[in-house]
Symmetry: none
Subunit: 228 residues, 2 copies
């Protein structure tokens, strides 16, 4: 899973340092030098994480962070703020504006990478765009479409993610809490029984195609998507 990290930083030297460390860790760094450049990149492809400098030419990093939080598409992208000062007020402002974490320059690359990993680990896994085929179903994340033996099936966002997870992890039993972690994200706090309800809704949607038995209950353990 190579995550794309958008680095918004106007100083080339630091930009380069960050890019080097990020690449070292197996992630891909995308460079932006101001808020406008950042938006361009974001509109082109949503990054998995944004490393955002507090001081930017034009509009500040905090402002960009606010804009990111206001937009539905970018709302859930984690942000780590970078600042040159140790000014405490900056920390408060940065975190209030929606940043997930915060680090001051000069920082040790090791600490930064540790935080990046922590933030990435915490976020809900991203769904790839590849079409998945399993058990007579064809699911295309890009088009948000499901083809069941020629019939189209419409699902809500949650059921869609749930089915996508099952289709990419077939034949294996997942407990309710594992499903919550994988499909809802491990920072969400909902009742475990909520999973049951969504399983039911998913089965209900698959029923017209007689594919509802693909999702099996394993009493005492959880649920399983089985192609047999």
């Amino acid at each position: 899973m190579t995550a794309n990290i958008l680095v918004v930083e106007d100083e080339p030297a630091i930009q380069e340092l960050l890019a080097f460390n990020i690449a070292q860790c197996g992630y891909r760094a995308i460079e932006a030098y101001d808020a406008d450049g950042a938006w361009t990149h974001i509109n082109h492809a949503l990054p998995d994480l944004i490393l955002l400098d507090w001081m930017l030419p034009g509009s500040s990093g905090v402002e960009l962070a606010r804009r990111l939080r206001a937009d539905q598409r970018t709302r859930n992208i984690p942000i780590i703020m970078l600042t040159a000062r140790t000014d405490e007020r900056d920390k408060i402002l940065g975190l209030e504006s929606g940043a997930d974490d915060y680090i001051t320059k000069p920082f040790s690359p090791r600490e930064l990478m540790a935080r990046i990993r922590a933030v990435l680990r915490r976020r809900a896994p991203q769904m790839s765009d590849e079409t998945v085929v399993a058990g007579g179903l064809e699911l295309s994340p890009a088009m948000h479409r499901i083809n069941a033996n020629g019939a189209m099936i419409d699902l809500g966002p949650t059921e869609f993610r749930l089915l996508h997870f099952f289709m990419t992890h077939p034949e294996r039993v997942y407990s309710r809490s594992q499903l919550l972690d994988q499909v809802w994200g491990d920072h969400v706090f909902v009742e475990e029984r909520t999973v049951d309800v969504h399983i039911r809704r998913l089965r209900q949607a698959l029923e017209p195609s007689s594919l509802d038995r693909l999702i099996q209950t394993v009493r005492g353990s959880g649920y399983r998507f089985s192609c047999n």
Copy 2:
């Protein structure tokens, strides 16, 4: 399975609330009221998770966290920090000192338990997930499935655990009380005869594949799973 959670909290009311919720979730709460008490418990038996209050009499929670991280034995025990303040700076400090997660009072028990589960799950991925093969049977804990010469066998939770134990401990006789300890857990109180009933149910499930003779009765001693 039942994880021990050390709760380091000086306020009895909160201690009790935490203990109640932890017990509710099936974990065991161990109580400590200060850093020294915590060390005593830790030296006695390593907990699976530590719930640590930020404000403690004597040395602070952060200090205890640092000490835990410095010690080889306790380095890998996950820590969740509790704090009364909503000051984001504490969050930074807490995470820097080695905590795995962080929660502010007042917290919802549900959120706290969700985090506990998440942390425990991250740290301890399923242990014996490996497929076991013995006596013409193939048992996969991950899929919660049993393959008997191509035929799928469905078992209830108890029979599944029983068969899993037998397959991982073949050719040896176990008494009823040993089986109760190993399969049911050594804290439950059930009649020894109950084992007979579950043995029968297991044999019944294996019968269609003519594999019921794998489980042999040793009169006066117990039962044995034999591959011959």
